[in-house]
């Protein structure tokens, strides 16, 4: 479906390296190739220090590239080899920053009118366009007010109105909702989506909040330690995570250490095979990844395990179940099949996923937190 759509943003082999005094060279963004299509809402998701903000700032033009090329609407804006660099003000983008960045010395009207003023839009056109943008962001009637007299949510709307007033083709959002309280976040999310449908912006949305990304985006990208982990629709990423990182980053995960041999899979340290089909091209010590809400738990059918704890949560029950060998998993079910602590139970894994047993590199992760 994507093929016939116009490419709006394209990154080719984009790499960014920083040199820090204490840590030496750190690769913040490593060889990115990415296409974002017109009218798409594309989110970049990852933990702090993964390079997502750097990626966005390179697209905006605030950071130079170490290598690679960036194209916006087919036009080259950054090409390292040719030393081509279009400054941010000439890229025609709209952008909303995490800290809102509304100018405290200008009232709401002037904040929103500035992009039109510097674009030399005729005076008589400015007012109706500002008013329209303010209306879209539910700010009408507040033109004369200064930002410091407004709430966080209203300030964020000013930032949004300011970003859309020039009708940009591309809108960049840098964690725009993380400074708002949860309720407002939901409303703003809805409003951004509404605006996008109305104006057909291409949105790049940077966030560390998975539910935000899931709710807003058509496609998303999970990145970690400067590398793209997986790109796809939210459902693809949730249902078919390509590796352990993506699995654990989206939704809840259980990772069980298992040993796969001769078409059978056993929990590490146990001998009873698990009631699952063994993975095709993996063997030895591997990881079984499951979602707590997909595991079936009952009184008679499946792999025998022991309930070690039950927590009654509002909408579901959560069990901690010992599979033997010290491997404990979480299971979430509706309030049926009531088990008590110490009961035997039987579990089945309808949709297992298998990953290589990877080592977490905590030192590398800590190092990246600094940049």
């Amino acid at each position: 479906m994507a093929e016939e759509r116009t490419i709006q943003i394209e990154l080719k082999h984009v790499t960014k390296r920083f040199t820090t005094k204490t840590l030496g060279e750190v690769t913040a963004v490593n060889d990115f190739n990415l296409k974002v299509y017109e009218g798409e809402c594309f989110s970049i998701l990852g933990p702090s220090g993964c390079g997502k903000s750097t990626t966005l700032r390179m697209i905006a033009g605030f950071e130079d590239l170490s290598e690679g090329e960036i194209y916006l609407s087919g036009e080259p804006v950054s090409i390292k080899k040719k030393n081509l660099y279009v400054p941010p003000e000439d890229r025609g983008l709209g952008m909303v920053f995490q800290a809102f960045a509304v100018w405290p010395h200008m009232n709401v009207y002037k904040n929103v009118a500035l992009p039109l003023k510097v674009a030399k839009v005729p005076k008589e056109e400015i007012k109706p366009r500002v008013m329209k943008a303010l209306k879209h962001c539910s700010l009408d009637g507040l033109e004369k007010v200064y930002p410091s007299d407004l709430s966080g949510g209203q300030q964020q709307r000013i930032a949004l109105a300011r970003a859309i007033v020039i009708n940009p083709k591309i809108l960049l959002l840098d964690e725009p909702l993380s400074n708002l309280d949860p309720k407002l976040r939901e409303t703003m999310r809805f409003e951004i989506k509404k605006l996008q449908q109305e104006f057909n912006f291409t949105i790049i949305f940077v966030t560390h909040d998975q539910s935000e990304a899931m709710a807003l985006s058509d496609r998303m990208m999970v990145m970690d330690m400067g590398n793209i982990q997986q790109v796809g629709t939210p459902t693809e990423l949730y249902n078919k995570p390509i590796n352990k990182f993506v699995h654990s980053f989206l939704g809840q995960s259980n990772f069980t250490q298992v040993i796969a041999e001769n078409g059978k899979v056993c929990v590490k340290g146990c001998t009873t095979p698990l009631p699952v089909e063994a993975p095709k091209n993996m063997s030895g010590e591997i990881l079984l990844a499951t979602r707590p809400n997909t595991i079936e738990i009952n009184h008679s059918d499946g792999y025998k395990a022991k309930v070690i704890k039950r927590v009654f949560l509002t909408d579901f029950s959560q069990y901690l179940v010992d599979l033997g060998g010290g491997q404990i998993i979480r299971i979430q079910t509706p309030h049926r099949n009531i088990f008590r602590q110490g009961d035997d139970c039987y579990v089945k894994f309808p949709s297992p996923m298998w990953y290589e047993k990877g080592e977490e590199d905590d030192a590398e992760r800590a190092k990246r937190m600094v940049i």
């Binding site: 800290a99 960045a101 500035l114 300011r162």
Partner: protein
């Protein structure tokens, strides 16, 4: 049993039946502040309005003094110099603040270091150096121009109002620079980035976003320059006396010295002092207004490295310009003083055969001036530092923790001497401590000490109270709960917590006291000369090269103290 005992003691304390540490401190604060602040100010007002020979209120003299031609001229000069200095210093300060805070100009470290030098060299020494270089009568730079280009007349003349303005601006622009560069560094960079992404060009961002956002910082720096310039004595006296250009502070000192103890002369000086207080007072009120107006909240969001603006083609021309400027205004005067200090006599051409160590020999061995002056200045610096520290800690404790009635008055009294121009404070001290209250300290070092203590008290008060306000009351309450008395919690909990602030505030007093001139020039006696005054008197007596030698020694002492302090403060930061 013990428990009840303590409870009873506290109850009695609450009813105020027993003299306790809080009451003692409060009373002590009031008494001491009345001595150091109210007495001098009161004596000035009293002398200005009261004719003691006839014992009547006499306001006619106000009119007479105000209408004197010389005084009107001095007033005009003070205001012209004050405003022009502020304007030029602001332009220079903002320019360099932006260059160092926001652009990618190289050699920032060197430039930052150069900016510190004007703070270390007392401005009157700088003025002396400028006089040596650009005086119309035999300034070395003037002579070089005349001989090189065959000019008939000297091209520059620093002994003019314009000369004074330029030299003052050079020594005061760091006030603006420091305020603005700090504001720029605290500023959320996305405020500028959001303007760039909205399509604004670099220049537009600077003039419409960055500068308006740092307007509060600019204006507080400006007012600091204005107040300093209005009350400045060193520069206009060094440059203006020879050309008969007077400002209010120099005119007051001149009247005071010319009066030679005569009552009329002293009254004239006090009336001029009141005039100066009014001028400076207006500026101070403006400053207070400005500080109270809500500032923009420009510090927000996650801290990110601000993107430095690429100067591209302008980079090297700007670098050369700034370095040249800094070398001329910072290093050249320093070099000039050093060269002059080695000359056999001031006025001789700068040639190797005219160099000697005669001046150093003179000040070190012939009349041990250095020893006396350095001893006096060090004594004054240390004792003023300790007195101010003690008073400052006690005052801030009383004001912010004990909170007695009239603490606003306490605060006002503590800041009052600081708001007075140094010249006025000196006159107040002379009037108060030359026997008016049966105590005569005139011509001794003690009168200088009292003046310094009054003048610098607000430094320690500000620094200690800022730190004390951060100590949450619960910390002390916790120690009281553990059974410590009020005094014990003060010494065991509160004091250690504000120790870093105490140490740095001591040096805030010590350093300026070491190089003080304005107040001491009126207060010194034959045996209580300070470094500043000794240099000043050598120069006034025409011994410019001897004055330079002593100036070099003074600068060296100040720099050594600075380095030592830097080391101490750096070590303390970890606590």
């Amino acid at each position: 049993m013990l428990m009840f005992d303590r409870k009873n003691k506290d109850l009695r304390r609450m009813e105020g039946k027993k003299l306790n540490i809080d009451t003692v401190m409060t009373v002590l604060c009031f008494v001491l502040l009345i001595i150091v602040a109210i007495c001098p100010v009161g004596m000035i007002v009293y002398n200005a309005c009261w004719d003691t020979t006839t014992n009547t209120l006499d306001l006619a003299m106000f009119k007479e003094v105000l209408l004197q031609k010389e005084n009107i001229g001095a007033m005009k000069n003070t205001i012209v110099i004050g405003f022009m200095t502020t304007l030029i210093a602001t332009l220079i300060g903002v320019f360099f603040a932006w260059l160092l805070g926001r652009s990618d100009i190289p050699m920032k470290g060197t430039m930052r270091w150069l900016f510190k030098i004007p703070f270390m060299i007392p401005p009157f020494l700088g003025a002396m150096a400028w006089d040596i270089m650009f005086s119309a009568r035999g300034g070395y730079v003037n002579r070089w121009f005349m001989s090189t280009f065959g000019l008939e007349k000297p091209p520059f003349n620093v002994n003019t109002v314009i000369g004074i303005i330029i030299v003052e601006a050079i020594y005061m622009f760091p006030f603006v620079y420091n305020q603005v560069v700090a504001a720029l560094e605290r500023m959320d960079p996305t405020l500028e980035e959001s303007a760039r992404i909205a399509g604004a060009k670099q220049m537009y961002v600077i003039t419409r976003i960055t500068l308006p956002l740092v307007v509060p910082a600019i204006s507080s720096g400006m007012l600091l320059v204005l107040i300093t310039s209005l009350a400045n004595y060193g520069i206009p006296s060094m440059l203006g006396f020879s050309a008969k250009i007077y400002t209010l502070p120099t005119r007051i000192t001149e009247r005071m010295e010319a009066a030679n103890g005569s009552f009329i002369g002293i009254r004239q000086a006090t009336i001029l002092s009141i005039l100066l207080i009014i001028v400076v007072g207006i500026a101070l009120i403006m400053q207070n207004r400005l500080l109270n107006v809500g500032r923009y909240d420009i510090i927000k969001g996650k801290s990110m490295r601000p993107t430095l603006i690429k100067l591209r083609k302008a980079k090297y021309p700007l670098l050369i310009f700034s370095m040249l400027f800094l070398v001329i205004v910072v290093l050249a005067p320093l070099a000039m003083i050093i060269i002059t200090s080695f000359l056999k006599a001031y006025g001789l051409p700068i040639r190797l055969e005219n160099f000697s160590l005669k001046n150093y020999h003179e000040i070190f061995f012939r009349n041990n001036t250095v020893a006396t002056a350095a001893k006096n200045s060090l004594f004054l610096g240390f004792s003023a530092g300790f007195i101010c520290l003690f008073l400052g800690v006690m005052l801030s404790f009383v004001i912010y923790k004990v909170k007695p009635k009239g603490r606003g008055l306490l605060e006002f009294m503590a800041v009052l001497p600081y708001s007075l121009p140094g010249t006025v404070l000196a006159i107040g001290c002379i009037l108060a401590w030359s026997g008016a209250f049966k105590i005569n300290l005139y011509n001794t070092i003690w009168i200088i000490l009292i003046a310094y203590a009054a003048r610098y008290l607000s430094y320690t008060l500000k620094s200690c109270s800022a730190s004390l306000q951060q100590v949450h009351p619960s910390l002390e309450e916790a120690s009281r709960m553990c059974g410590a008395s009020r005094l014990q919690s003060l010494t065991d909990v509160t004091m250690p917590l504000i120790k870093p602030a105490m140490i740095s505030s001591f040096f805030l007093v010590f350093l300026p006291a070491m190089r003080e001139l304005t107040t001491s020039v009126l207060l010194v006696g034959p045996k209580s000369k300070t470094l500043g005054v000794t240099i000043y008197q050598y120069r006034a007596g025409g011994h410019i090269s001897t004055a330079s030698a002593l100036a070099v020694v003074t600068i060296a002492i100040i720099m050594i103290c600075n380095a030592v302090i830097g080391q101490i403060v750096k070590d303390r930061k970890g606590i």
